[in-house]
Symmetry: none
Subunit: 403 residues, 2 copies
């Protein structure tokens, strides 16, 4: 049996407070020239002190060789087996724009695209139109009438990206993508993969053809490509599973959405990286677990910008004195996945993590928080979902199992 | 869920090429005098370079404390959970002599043995008769007529060892061994363990008694001991599971047979250790994964010959420049199990392994390929079946999981 079942059964509430600081995409690879990663190259006295006083290790978000999207990576951090709960792109996009998705809603991500007169795709991103342009076009699509008692919500995400949400009784989400993923061909028809989704497929199909009429006068964004149809997954919440009272402090909507999916309270986003400690301080009352998300390490990794990734680590490190002053019994610093600057993309490499909990965690010999140092840490190499139980135990929130 | 299920779902084909060099039974224990293993004592500049540029770790073929046979060890290397697929000794022996085993055939391994006038076993190996002698005796057994529409195939393996294969409709393989594993007692009767194997049991029983008549005039090999009745297991192939186009380059029949069981192409065996690189070069076209098997490390371990095991490592190391010149994106060097010279037998100790994939694998601080150094490697300690996904990911063959 997965020991997480026992962790759930043994969890009990107390007043100890846990901070989980997630530096998105933090993990990286040693560069050729000097063997350093952005984390290793950064001046980060506070993170190094926490590593020195705590325990370090490396964690696989999903499993060996598996590159996680943001959903699976965060599920792992929150103590979930990401192979048990798949969250479709449509749902992630919807929660990512703070759309108040309800159980039974069907959400899909869409791209505006460019079609030639024969209906073939010439640009899957419609020339990367501006977000303002997107809003104007969404205005046109919203005039398409509701269909057979099913509400249709069309929302701007950014640039050429948007979200389609269907709301009504008896909808199915087993619909194939209409995005063929390459140009020179027509969009795929809306195809239902099961009987229960047939009617939903017809509604989406009608919407798509009416959208083409509504966009017929557009030079670039005259078509839609849909993908990632899904419905809200039924995930037992962190309060139910771990008896936690968790709160999310994150600037980016997708992470706020993910936090909401696992039952965290999600107050308004802070305005900047520098505003994070004050936000944590303001929102901790009534909570005993804070998921604090820093996005910019991942962005710098995706851009292949070593120096900026290092700088983000340094800026985050500078927040730690203010964060620690708030008063936490346990501090976890981790990542949802690696985003090596050399790859400019997520990767499968395990993420470095530290657990600081004076007198509670096994203090290993690691004195600096780097990927290389974490290889030698006491936490070893484990599935990412086992990081949370270590923090819970250090916080005294897990009762003894068995007599 | 086992993350291997996700690996299977995310695998995609590309042109990157993986070499998996397996040094059979490579893992060993530090000897008393100087703490060296044969691997550590060997001069092996090429393996050390790969370790220095790559990542190292240790892998458990089956699980902690479990000593694997060759079947489970190789299944782990090929990405299978060896606890899910048992391959009986009879099947291993049959595929090991290139016998064209078909689905539904029942195979058993047999020993020629010596029986005294009262029918009690005096030598379980019939004085280790020669393989030529074995062939002569198999000639006698082949004269025993087919029985009730069931073909009986008798094959020489080597020395006192042979293979019995039954072919026909409705055979069952749930038959107990007739080898009591010690002398001074009669061979056990052929006992069916389920209803479906009752008729097969009778056929085998009749064959055994007719064999005793056929061998009645022999001084040493006048009886048969049977064990490991089994039928071909239904194993999803590596091409199905991982979208690989794998090829096996191995000199020994059993490993070629194992490779065939998991869907590898198996061209004719190379004539010598030195011929391996040319064989790999010749057979790579049309393939993207090469399982290259070196047997002699295990043989030296079984013989308790430290110096010979070290020498085999050195000879294998010398093949690497020619192997690398063929052009591989990822090189894995590993073993199917440990065979410590001090044990003269397989053991349960995790096997050392390295993954070389410049710019893709996490380059750790390990600079030499030894069991001790691998303790400190970035791959950590994992079940052996998780080694393949690391190689697949480094080869860009595993798509991102989740949005």
């Amino acid at each position: 049996m997965d020991p997480m079942r026992i962790v759930e059964a043994q969890c009990e509430q107390n007043d100890s407070r846990i901070l989980m600081l997630v530096m998105d995409g933090l993990g990286d690879l040693p560069r050729e020239t000097d063997g350093l990663t952005p984390l290793a190259a950064a001046r980060k006295p506070n993170l190094d002190r926490l590593a020195g006083e705590g325990a370090c290790g490396r964690f696989d978000p999903v499993g060996p060789g598996l590159t996680p999207g943001s959903g699976p990576g965060h599920l792992g951090l929150f103590g979930y087996d990401p192979t048990e709960y798949e969250i479709g792109r449509g749902v992630l996009s919807a929660v990512g724009i703070d759309f108040p998705l309800r159980r039974g809603d069907v959400a899909a991500r869409f791209n505006f695209c460019t079609l030639d007169p024969a209906g073939r795709i010439t640009d899957r991103r419609a020339g990367r139109i501006s977000t303002d342009e997107n809003r104007r076009l969404v205005g046109l699509l919203r005039r398409i009438p509701a269909s057979a008692g099913v509400e249709i919500h069309v929302e701007t995400e950014s640039e050429h990206r948007g979200v389609l949400v269907l709301r009504g009784d008896g909808l199915g989400h087993a619909l194939a993508d209409t995005d063929p993923q390459h140009v020179g061909v027509e969009p795929l028809p809306v195809a239902a993969r099961d009987e229960a989704s047939a009617r939903t497929g017809e509604i989406v199909s009608r919407f798509v053809s009416e959208a083409r009429q509504a966009l017929a006068g557009e030079a670039r964004a005259n078509g839609l490509l849909l993908r990632g149809f899904d419905t809200l997954p039924s995930i037992p919440s962190m309060p139910e599973r771990f008896k936690l009272r968790p709160v999310c402090v994150a600037q980016y909507p997708m992470y706020r959405g993910l936090a909401r999916l696992v039952g965290m309270d999600v107050p308004r986003p802070p305005a900047s990286l520098q505003a994070l400690p004050a936000a944590v301080r303001d929102h901790m009352p009534g909570h005993d677990f804070c998921f604090l998300h820093v996005k910019y390490t991942d962005k710098a990794g995706e851009d292949g910008d070593f120096d900026r990734k290092r700088a983000v680590v340094e800026e985050t490190d500078a927040l730690l004195p203010a964060l620690l002053a708030i008063g936490f019994d346990v501090v976890v610093v981790a990542a949802d996945h690696s985003t090596p600057v050399a790859h400019k993309a997520h990767s499968w490499h395990p993420v470095p993590a530290l657990v600081w909990a004076p007198g509670r965690v096994f203090r290993d010999l690691v004195e600096t928080f780097t990927e290389q140092a974490c290889v030698h840490g006491a936490l070893g190499r484990m599935p990412l979902r086992y990081l949370l139980p270590e923090a819970l135990a250090c916080a005294g929130k897990v009762a003894k199992f068995g007599a």
